[in-house]
Amino acid sequence: MDINTILFALLGVLMTGYAVLDGFDLGVGTLSLFIRSEEERRLYITSIGPVWDGNQVWLLTTGNVLFCAFPLAFTTVFSGFYLALILLLVALGARAVATEYRFEYTSSRWVWFWDRAFGVGSLFSAVILGVALGNVLRGLPIGPGFVWKGSFLGLLNPYAIWIGLLSCALFVMHGALYLGMKTEGEVSHRNSRIALRAYVVFLSLYCVAAAATVHTSPFLFRKADSPAFWGLTALLVTALAAVPIMIRARRRGAAFIASSATIALMIVVTAWATYPMLVQSNLDPELSLTIYNAASAPGTLAAVLVIACIGMPIMLGYTFAVYWIFRGPTR
């Protein structure tokens, strides 16, 4: 296994960590939009209060590893997604500021405004991340010299928007399962029911998306004849099936783990299917970005690996520490 592959795997791990961790707090934020009671919205924000910013670090590190290890992919994709990423930043920023400012003053209009900012910011983030992923899955308009040839409106194609809705439903389910686990009494029961409904929505969206992906992105199925592809897919189906079973059995921790495994396996299957491709060009497959033609110089790759070996244990350490310290239900 060469260093490019190791760093590709690292990217996959970071993306998985981000989607599993920030996924539930974006879901909690989206759910808070539908809550009338100010007291309950406070509970929602408090439940993710100590962990959400740590979760977001995984997004930053994903971007950093992409920038350092595969700079051509970073520049091409981030330039192409420029406006979308700016909107994502504003949405993520809105919820970040809201979680702090909300508690600084007790006027009901002030609290109402920041609660909205938190909810809408979460909803937009969940959708934009999905739309971005949808576009990557579909292949991007990369022209000669790895220059982006698309437009902002081109990003808003039906397939990508469908994936945006899919990620939103998935995160809502994931967030509801988190709340089911982290709260008590009525709120916990209600969120378990919401998770079940979100699961149904997610599963229907997912079936259509899977069929659409076969049609739009045949390149993702090049390895469809290998046993590993079907092994991973079987694991994914198992995790998917476990979610409603665990909810019905009222095993809330297990349900949350099943939904985390679902998210992780979706990313692993996709990453495995694209490898060694990073981004497919839909103008000419020859212009696609791979982990070799988009990579930095060997010295830089080695440096990234060394930094990751130092940084990852720290990141994992404080992630576990903060979840351990704040274990138990939020009140």
């Binding site: 520049t75 330039s79 192409g80 420029y82 406006l83 700016i86 504003v90 920023g93 500021v97 400012y101 600084e104 003053y105 220059v147 982006w148 040839k149 902002f152």
Partner: protein
């Protein structure tokens, strides 16, 4: 490390001892010593820039002609008419720049004219922002030192104007920080990576000027909104009755 010890740890221990004598007012001494740190750190940084990015250094210091015994410009109005940069109405201390940058008043300092014009940073903005930043730093030291003297004599709370000046100085460190960024970022032009990559070559070909303008406008609006919210919170806080410290 030596400077750090002298200017950081030592004042801290002094501040702690003063705190033991003076109780709650020690914070003022903490702030004073925090300001005094500006001198050695700022100086060290400028020395570094003089060695590693000479064009930036002479642009911010306003030295246009190479010379030994180069003067430190305290005040000046930079003009760049027809590519001939010159400083008007300047006040300078002879030899001090040579001494500060290279440790001897006889040191030769290369002026901006010695560098090819295509490698010049803009001359006006970095010069102005740098000088205002340094002036603010000196102002911080002066006002904190003065306030500390008044405190030692037990007269600090009698000077209404001094207290008011201290209150109105609260946003100035932020301003100084921004001016420092302007100095560093405008002063490093035309390079985004010094001597390796020009800013003009680093521009993304597929991001249009309109998109950049939109994002800049959007961020301005967002930041102004957050700043207004913060300001309203601070004003509300300031109007509340002060509560005595528990300690």
């Amino acid at each position: 490390m030596f400077w750090h010890g002298i200017f950081f740890e030592l004042p801290r221990s002094i501040a702690h001892n003063v705190a033991a004598v003076n109780g709650g007012d020690s914070r003022l001494f903490g702030l004073l010593f925090a300001c005094l740190e500006l001198m050695p750190f700022g100086h060290e940084h400028a020395e570094l820039v003089a060695r590693t990015q000479p064009e930036k250094f002479v642009a911010i210091e306003g030295l246009y002609t190479s010379q030994t015994c180069a003067p430190l410009v305290i005040f000046g109005i930079p003009c760049t008419e027809q590519g001939h940069p010159l400083l008007k109405a300047k006040i300078e201390i002879p030899g001090l720049l040579s001494y500060l940058a290279f440790g001897s008043i006889d040191a030769h300092v290369r002026g901006i004219r010695e560098f090819p014009p295509e490698d010049w940073p803009p001359l006006v903005l970095p010069f102005v922002s740098y000088h205002i930043m340094v002036a603010l730093g000196i102002f911080f030291i002066a006002i904190m030192g003065f306030a500390a003297c008044r405190l030692l004599r037990g007269r600090l709370y009698d000077d209404r104007w001094l207290l008011k000046a201290l209150v109105w100085s609260v946003p100035l460190p932020v301003l100084a920080c921004e001016l420092g960024w302007i100095t560093a970022e405008v002063g490093r032009q035309p390079w985004i990576v010094y001597k390796l990559l020009r800013t003009s070559d680093a521009v993304s070909p597929s991001v249009s000027a309109g998109e950049i303008a939109f994002s800049l406008a959007l961020f301005s609006v967002v930041y102004i909104a957050i700043f207004s919210a913060w300001l309203s919170l601070m004003i509300r806080r300031a109007k509340e009755e002060p509560v005595a410290d528990e300690a």
